[in-house]
């Protein structure tokens, strides 16, 4: 009999394995999976006790069975998993309606970018376990105790790529409904449903009492079968012994309540024993799970934030698309991640609820660039993303490594597009944005566009993508060229919503190309489209008039309760303009020495009226920075002030560079190139980042390679850029080795390049040991050294 899970049938899972093993003498720090070899009879007897108590399912003793743990055990993953599965299968032998689940928990390493486990390595690690488990004959895959949505996604992808077995996935939440790694319940549900697991839920961390609100939320927002394995309450210490505070009787009562509400699979985690399962099973006699309903939210998410379309206007920030944006194009080519991150942060602050990310430039490796930028943005900004590319490979790669559930921009009515995009969306759990065009181009009438939308929806549903995960863009045409088309687009928006019941997106500002006073047309078009039922405009959230239109629309449609946000937004705006009017114009030297960034930029602007850019640099900025540097070296000012001054000078430099580019005298301020990197194995990069800020303001062109950078990458970047200096940083003793290796590699391949090293663990002696030219104790010393080299 094949294993199945459904909303209308109670399934009883087993209780804790670890607790039982501890009761039998396992000590803290011992590896439970070792007992699969040293005492298989104990493991089998625990399975048997749970089965006798009424469990339908036993989880194999493979909680931590992965390649990292296997190393410590001196056994292969294959040996551990095969042994565990055969023990569990022996235990269910001769019993009807009992199943063996392959238990898989987090692998113990932490996913990049927080930690250093790459997504692909995580997929590999879980794939090993899945392959062995399936071969050994388990009935389904049980992923549990995950606290990082990203690691869970890797495990689900590994399971899907290597097996056809059903998947149950549960995470562990803290009392506030968030995991250690910041995953919220809503994001878990959106992501796992889209990835296509068979059931989802919670286990461990909390007792049934604390899980009440979490389970209620799950039932409210998910359509899938809900699985719970609570702890036996919270741990309490009594006479130096730990026990849990919920008795088997109380536990069984809680479980009964949950099942009546709609939970269908129940068992126990830490602290539970066969007695808990026995009472729980007895208590559920004749009870069927409460009626569940299918939910119809259109949502996407990052691990912590969600956007549900339709409830409110969702502004999609359009600024991370290089089309027509020269500075962004330059930043993408130069791999200037800070520029891109700043743009992402700014759009969030301006009110975007999700960000479109497009890295489409003709002469770059778009798949690699898009996925790298998506990871970088997700490390810093918690908004959900819309992955935007016409390159299918780029979309697939980015969808695979995206943390959460993204929106894919885009698919259209062409067969080629449907064939390429729909499988990506299905496999990686994405919502899709469908454009109403096909092999014949963009149709003129609203009805024809609706027909294409319908075609996309039918094809998507056939591929297993739910209608709620489809959004449609009816395409805005320019009023200057195709005036009559504007109304057709608006009509199509209304028809798509009314007739097809899906949410809509529009790139509003296309309407005004080629006409004067574009903001006026844009905001009017926006208001008209919102009135037709537009759910998510793709726009520049920094466009004050458009975002004010959204604010006004939200008041007039009663989405902004008591007009609170409207009043707030407009009064902030008034305040800001008042401040700008009041501000004096202090001089640039003062602004740099006191670290006043805004003033530095503004005074530079004023100075440019009467001074040449080069004069400003030589006569004002350099002397000011010199005095700042000396004050720092003499302990008159300290690191925070030094950085503030450097950033003030930087804002002035940025303005001057625009001016210099115009007059083509930039050759006169040719900057020395320096590569900065935190070496392989080291994830602490704040020190390196400080050096970067300071260096940039002593007129170095810094190429920042980030943290945990391999010697080969540093060598390649040195060759590619032609930099004459490489600065390496390391905080911990274990990374001195990689530093030495990096220097040796540079010496053999680029003998003329000079190397400066620094970081907490470094000393002048260690600098010599690793073969560097020079040691710098702090950022200022780094600048001085680089100037001399």
């Amino acid at each position: 009999m094949a294993f199945t899970i459904s909303n209308d049938k109670v399934l009883i899972l087993d209780g804790a394995m670890g607790t039982m093993l501890q009761n039998k003498g396992l000590k803290a720090g011992d590896i439970p999976e070792m007992l699969n070899f040293t005492a298989p009879e104990i493991i089998e007897s625990i399975h048997a006790e749970y089965l006798a108590a009424g469990a339908n399912v036993v989880l194999t003793n493979t909680f931590g069975a992965n390649r990292y743990k296997a190393q410590k055990m001196g056994h292969s993953v294959e040996e551990i998993v095969t042994a565990a599965v055969s023990i569990a299968k022996k235990a269910i032998e001769g019993r009807n309606g009992k199943f063996v689940a392959l238990d898989i928990a987090p692998c113990g390493k932490i996913m990049a970018p927080t930690g250093d486990l790459s997504f692909e390595e995580a997929v590999e690690v879980f794939a090993e376990v899945v392959c062995v488990g399936e071969k050994a004959g388990v009935d389904y895959i049980h992923l549990e105790t995950f606290t990082d949505l990203y690691e869970l996604k890797a495990a689900i992808i590994a399971a899907k790529e290597n097996s056809k077995l059903p998947i149950i996935a549960t995470m562990s939440f803290e009392g506030n409904g968030i995991t250690f790694f910041g995953t919220s319940i809503k994001s878990m549900v959106l992501t796992l449903e889209a990835l296509g697991v068979d059931a989802l839920g919670v286990n461990c961390s909390l007792g049934p009492k604390q899980l009440v609100p979490i389970i209620n939320e799950l039932l409210e927002i998910s359509s899938l079968p809900i699985v719970i394995k609570p702890n036996a309450g919270l741990p309490i210490i009594e006479n130096e012994n730990m026990r849990y505070d919920i008795s088997p009787e109380e536990f069984a009562d809680y479980i009964k309540t949950f099942v009546k509400l709609g939970v269908c699979a129940v068992g126990g985690c830490c602290g539970t024993t066969p007695e808990y399962i026995r009472l729980l099973e007895k208590n559920l006699d004749g009870i069927i799970p409460g009626q569940r309903t299918s939910k119809n939210f259109t949502g996407i998410c990052s691990p912590s934030k969600q956007v549900y379309f339709g409830k409110d206007v969702a502004i999609i920030g359009e600024r991370l698309n290089p089309t027509g944006k020269k500075t962004l194009q330059a930043a993408i080519r130069a791999n200037d991640i800070n520029f891109i991150l700043k743009e992402a942060i700014r759009q969030q602050e301006q009110g975007a609820l999700l960000l479109d990310v497009n890295m489409g430039l003709p002469d770059i490796d778009e798949p690699a660039t898009l996925s790298r930028m998506v990871s970088e943005i997700q490390a810093i900004v918690d908004l959900p993303l819309q992955l935007d590319s016409s390159n299918y490979k780029a979309l697939e790669k980015a969808a695979r490594i995206y943390n959460g559930k993204p929106l894919l921009n885009s698919v259209n009515g062409k067969k080629e597009s449907l064939d390429a995009i729909l499988p990506i969306a299905k496999k990686y759990g994405c919502a899709i944005l469908g454009l109403t065009l096909d092999e014949n181009g963009i149709p003129e009438t609203a009805e024809e566009r609706v027909a294409i939308a319908e075609k996309i929806i039918i094809a998507a549903e056939k591929s297993g993508i739910s209608r709620k995960d489809i959004l449609i863009d009816c395409l805005v045409m320019t009023a200057s060229a195709q005036q009559s088309q504007v109304l057709e687009t608006l009509k199509a928006v209304r028809l798509v919503k009314e007739n097809l019941g899906v949410k809509t997106v529009l790139g509003v500002s296309n309407v005004s190309f080629g006409l004067p006073s574009r903001p006026l047309l844009n905001r009017t078009m926006l208001a008209m489209a919102l009135m037709q039922g537009l759910d998510a405009p793709i726009m520049n959230p920094g466009d004050a008039e458009m975002s004010e239109t959204v604010a006004a629309f939200r008041v007039l449609t009663a989405k902004d309760a008591n007009s609170e946000q409207y009043i707030n937004k407009l009064s902030n705006f008034a305040q800001q303009s008042a401040q700008t009017n009041d501000s004096e114009t202090p001089n640039l030297t003062y602004a740099i020495i006191h670290g006043l960034k805004k003033d530095a930029r503004e005074t530079t602007e004023t100075l440019l009226i009467e001074m040449k850019p080069l004069d400003i640099i030589e006569k004002i900025i350099i002397p000011a920075l010199d005095s700042v540097g000396k004050n720092y070296e003499n302990n008159i000012i300290f690191l925070p002030q030094l950085i503030k001054s450097a950033e003030a000078a930087k804002s002035s430099f940025e303005r001057l560079r625009i001016e210099l580019a115009k007059t083509e005298t930039s050759g006169a301020v040719q900057r020395k190139k320096i590569i900065l990197a935190t070496v392989l194995g080291d994830i602490h990069d704040i020190g390196k980042n400080i050096v970067k800020v300071i260096m940039e303001n002593y007129n170095f062109e810094v190429i920042d390679l980030g943290r945990d950078v391999s010697p080969e990458t540093i060598l390649q970047a040195t060759k590619d850029s032609g930099a004459s200096i490489v600065g390496l940083s390391a905080l911990m003793t274990t990374t001195v080795g990689p530093m030495k290796k990096t220097v040796a590699l540079l010496r053999s391949e680029c003998p003329n390049v000079k190397v400066i090293v620094g970081g907490a663990v470094l000393t002048p002696e260690l600098a010599k040991f690793v073969g560097a030219d020079c040691y710098a104790k702090d950022a200022m010393e780094g600048v001085r050294a680089a100037e001399k080299l």
């Binding site: 720090g29 390493k109 991150l341 490390a379 690191l639 925070p640 080291d682 704040i686 400080i690 000393t763």
Partner: protein, 225 residues
Amino acid sequence: MFSLYPFVLRETLRLLHMDNKNAKADFLKNTEELYKTLINHIVPKTLLTRVNISIEEDCVNFGSFTVQSVGLSKLLEHCESCFLIAVTLGAEIDKLISRTQIEDMSDAVVLDALASSLADIICDKSEARAVESLSEKEFLTMRFSPGYGDVPLDASEGILDTLNAKKKMGVGLTKSFMLIPIKSVTAFIGISNRKEKRGISCDVCAISNQCLYRKRGDFCGIHNK
């Protein structure tokens, strides 16, 4: 958490090589604001357990793991048991510090120092509670973390595994044994049969040669005064 601010501030200023005299009023005001932001972005957790130990040839045996270290063996020479401690401020603060580095590097440096100081002070507080569980004839040694002196960084793995820290508090290690979240601490605190010096000599410190505190005639937080 705000009640800890005076202690955190003192330690933060020390990390930034500043003191109350040379910190200006606007800097202090901004630092206090940053501390308020910090405490809104942390979920502090502490795990502490007591294990029996034995020492043989500079190798300390903690039951389920061993650590080869002259410094640690010396620290624990009068001990038959030892506390293992792990503290974290949670994963969110790492993200906030990264984000602040993009927005305002100066604030990021202060925020980073505040977070490191707070993690240390939470260790102090847990240590103070641990003292209450001791008998009259038991005394604590100083707190000693992997990475100090000759204690290898991989010693953190034994501490975290014994405390089941990945599962209970979300703290793990990178492949080169650095703690994640970054604002986390692991340490040993010996339980000695005599009153111990609560400090460490600069002689066993890995960076004594170029220590900035020593250069200024000052000492770091762990130095044996």
